[in-house]
């Protein structure tokens, strides 16, 4: 399982040898946030897109100087890393108005520890035609800014190539995720989440190659998966392998998800028509995404319902990072929906970094136990 270990290794560390090699060859790395920023544009500029995650953060001493105790620990951990120069390998950073915490994180990062290239995208909260046109213009401005700063050219051909490459990634990840539909899947949910995360920091050509190798390697694999129930994981940013481990050790297989660090990465396929920037704008804006998309609540809930059916889900873990008011507010309609469907669920509040795992374990074990009766 060499490939699987490589991917898991890349998911568990802030940097990796792929980034080092990229930098050694004179390549530039651009960090970005959220699931509405098209990586394809960064990639088409010959830059390495890096999805910002504060891997390894376990306290927020410096970040607490600026952000308050009512700000989410994902944003605070990112700031902690930024102030501590842990993201020093970034040559650029692009952010968006994804939520109140992340947009303020960008403000503080920009004012206190600026990266050579910084850009902000105003992403609409709605998906009507006017909003799509707005976002198309925002992306064109973004492309122009990249071209100016890095002295590169983002051509139609480069964009078309990047779109095709990313479509391949989506397709491979979907195949991988479909394996979790099996009664005895060749990978665990925890492994699947790590594989998705690894893609945030590996150049896509190499990542696709690794995914293809992985598919071959795990064919016929029978891991020690003994689960009592099949779970869907949803809610705030989730890349905590310790927490995933707790869930699976408690007897729950993470068989499906609607996470931004999970299946939202490969939701849908771009068709590749004549106006790549326009198509990227429409594609990324229309992602059901997180609750910041104000007119997509029903679509998000329908997606949960569909996955419950397709993946044979018995229960749902709705996990929120404390002070995330997007997922906090979304809990109302989600609760109503899951109650109407008669699907057991648990609403868990947590911090971004691993903490109180014992308490979480007890709650998850009790939840799974209750479902098994």
């Amino acid at each position: 399982m060499d490939t699987l270990n490589k991917l898991i290794g890349a998911s568990n560390s802030l940097g990796n040898h792929y980034i080092e090699e990229w930098k050694q060859q004179g390549g530039k790395v651009v960090g970005f946030f959220g699931s509405h920023i098209p990586e394809e544009i960064i990639y088409a500029a010959g830059l390495l897109p890096f999805r910002v995650r504060p891997v390894g953060c376990n306290q927020t001493r410096e970040a607490d100087v600026y952000m308050s105790n009512v700000n989410c620990t994902f944003a605070k951990c990112c700031l902690e890393h930024a102030l501590g120069d842990k993201f020093a390998f970034l040559d650029g950073l692009v952010s968006m108005n994804s939520c109140d915490h992340v947009r303020r994180l960008y403000d503080i990062w920009r004012l206190k520890s600026p990266v050579p290239f910084m850009h902000f995208l105003s992403v609409p909260h709605l998906t009507h035609k006017r909003a799509i046109n707005w976002y198309r213009d925002e992306l064109a401005i973004f492309r122009d800014a990249i071209e100016r700063h890095f002295e590169v050219s983002v051509t139609q051909d480069n964009l078309a190539h990047a779109i095709a490459l990313y479509n391949r990634t989506r397709s491979l990840l979907r195949q991988l995720s479909d394996m979790l539909k099996k009664d005895i899947p060749p990978i665990t949910g925890r492994e699947y989440l790590s594989i998705v995360l690894a893609g945030f920091s590996i150049p896509k050509e190499q990542y696709n190659q690794l995914l293809e190798e992985l598919m071959k390697e795990i064919k016929g694999r029978k891991p020690d998966v003994r689960y009592k129930t099949r779970l869907l994981l949803m809610g705030s940013a989730f890349d905590d392998s310790n927490f995933a481990q707790v869930i699976e050790e408690s007897g729950g297989l993470i068989a499906a998800d609607t996470l931004s660090f999970g299946s939202r990465v490969y939701h849908g396929i771009l068709k590749g028509h004549g106006d790549p920037i326009g198509e990227l704008a429409e594609f990324y804006l229309k992602q059901p995404g997180c609750p910041r998309m104000a007119d997509k609540a029903n679509e998000r809930l329908d997606l949960v319902e569909r996955k419950i059916e397709e993946f044979g889900i018995n229960g749902v873990i709705y996990q929120r990072i404390r002070y995330c008011n997007l997922w906090g507010g979304e809990a109302f309609l989600t609760t109503k929906k899951l109650e109407a469907l008669g699907v057991p669920f648990i609403n868990l509040e947590r911090e971004y970094y691993p903490t109180a795992l014992g308490t979480l374990r007890t709650r998850i074990e009790a939840f799974i136990e209750r479902m098994s009766k």
């Binding site: 915490h101 909260h125 104000a294 906090g328 309609l333 509040e349």
Partner: protein
């Protein structure tokens, strides 16, 4: 108008009755101030009547401008001032609806939104004909709860999308969103837009904004000619009643009061010692805390962020100019502009307030759910000090819910800060 499910004890009536009682009390004790309660009483009287006659009420959020509703003879209710009224009146006990909502959403969701959700779930309020909200301002709580309440109640919903920026492209985008709102209201009422009525509503609001601008400038005067507590009335009125003639009488009286005091060379309090800019939401559950600092320290809150409206007259010569003007007002709504875009928006407003109103201190009484402001509160404090040498008191509270921190727990923070000035 159908009632939402539940016992329908009707919160509109409770608010109206409580204001009537306060109005009656003030008429006896401070008759020269009773007029200040009249617009609020009139507002809720009309909503109570509408709940009986079936006139259409539209709920809108904090940062949605009310003028378009008046152009269609609709009766808007700005849900956040409604909640603020509920918090201010202890007999109403807002905690009931906050608790109901917390069966579904966590405690850190804003109490303004939790109250609305709790009301919708309890059925203690007549169901509106429609709801209108804003996405992009003021916060994530409002972004998720407002449409969810509309979905729960099954009422038509329109969302105004507000971009992050403040440039011409943004203004044009929001102007189109305003046209979308007018179309939505046409469908809701079954009536085509009447330009005469729209112009009339804008003329009323232009007059109200003009008067409010005069009052705004008066508050810069030393000593401040107007008492702090009037800020509460101004904020609710400017958020709910501009676009109707109902705002104008109050504003004229207030403007005259300020003018007379300036002419006489007197301030609102006998000895103004300290001038304060309040750059966050007021403590709604105990507005008398402002009276307390006036009396105990001669400290006057000369301006707060909620009442800090920009003066934007609207050109009524065409639908395009009107929608452009409405867009500019929308983009500059208080607690919209400051909290929406880059941190510099809040810094700019705070510095201008502190400088223009010649304050000695700034207070950031941070409603805990305003996480977007809390994230940059420390930076704002530094910027104000670096730029003007003025200190800022930062403290946290839930502006609606005294169960988090009571007035008695908050007062010592004021006392120790004000004593050092």
């Amino acid at each position: 108008m159908t009632a939402a499910k539940g016992n329908n004890s009707n919160i509109y009536q409770k608010i109206r009755d409580t204001i009537a009682s306060v109005h009656s009390h003030v008429s006896k004790k401070r008759p020269d101030e009773a007029w200040a309660y009249a617009p609020g009483l009139d507002f809720w009287e009309k909503r109570c009547r509408a709940a009986e006659t079936g006139e259409k009420i539209v709920w809108h959020n904090f940062t949605t401008i009310p003028e378009p509703f008046y152009a269609f003879d609709l009766l808007p209710i700005n849900c956040d001032p409604m909640t603020a009224y509920m918090a201010r009146f202890p007999n109403i006990r807002l905690s009931k609806w906050v608790d109901i909502s917390q069966q579904y959403v966590p405690d850190h969701v804003c109490a303004y939104d939790k109250n609305l959700l709790g009301l919708a779930l309890s059925g203690d309020v007549p169901q509106p004909a429609a709801m209108v909200g804003t996405a992009g301002q003021p916060c994530d709580s409002a972004l998720t709860i407002f449409p969810a309440v509309a979905e729960h109640l099954g009422v038509p919903y329109y969302e105004i999308d507000i971009p992050y920026w403040k440039d011409e492209r943004t203004t044009q985008y929001v102007a189109e969103e305003m046209k979308g709102l007018l179309s939505f209201l046409e469908v809701l009422t079954g009536e085509s837009l009447n330009m005469d009525k729209l112009c009339q509503a804008i003329e009323y609001s232009n007059r109200a904004h003009e008067l409010h601008h005069d009052i705004h400038l008066q508050r810069m005067h030393v000593p401040c000619p107007l008492p702090t507590r009037f800020l509460m009335f101004d904020g609710a009125l400017m958020n709910s009643q501009v676009g109707s003639p109902d705002a104008i009488g109050y504003l004229e009286k207030l403007r005259d009061m300020g003018r007379n005091n300036i002419k006489k060379g007197v301030g609102a309090i006998s000895e103004e010692k300290t001038r304060i800019a309040w750059v966050h939401l007021p403590i709604m559950f105990d507005t008398q805390i402002w009276d307390f600092i006036e009396e105990a320290f001669g400290a006057v809150v000369v301006q707060d962020i909620l009442t800090n409206f920009k003066y934007i007259p609207i050109d009524t010569s065409s639908l395009d100019t009107i929608c452009r003007g409405l867009a500019l007002r929308e983009l500059n709504m208080t607690m919209g502009f400051e909290v929406r875009g880059p941190a510099e928006n809040l810094f700019e407003v705070a510095i201008n307030m502190a400088r223009d109103f010649k304050v000695d201190a700034v207070v950031f009484g941070g409603h805990t759910a305003c996480e977007q402001s809390w994230a940059i509160a420390q930076l704002m404090k530094d910027v104000i000090y670096d730029e003007l040498g003025i200190r800022t008191l930062i403290f946290d509270c839930d502006g609606l819910d005294p169960r988090v921190l009571t007035s008695e727990q908050l007062k010592p923070r004021f006392i120790s800060f004000l004593e050092t000035l």
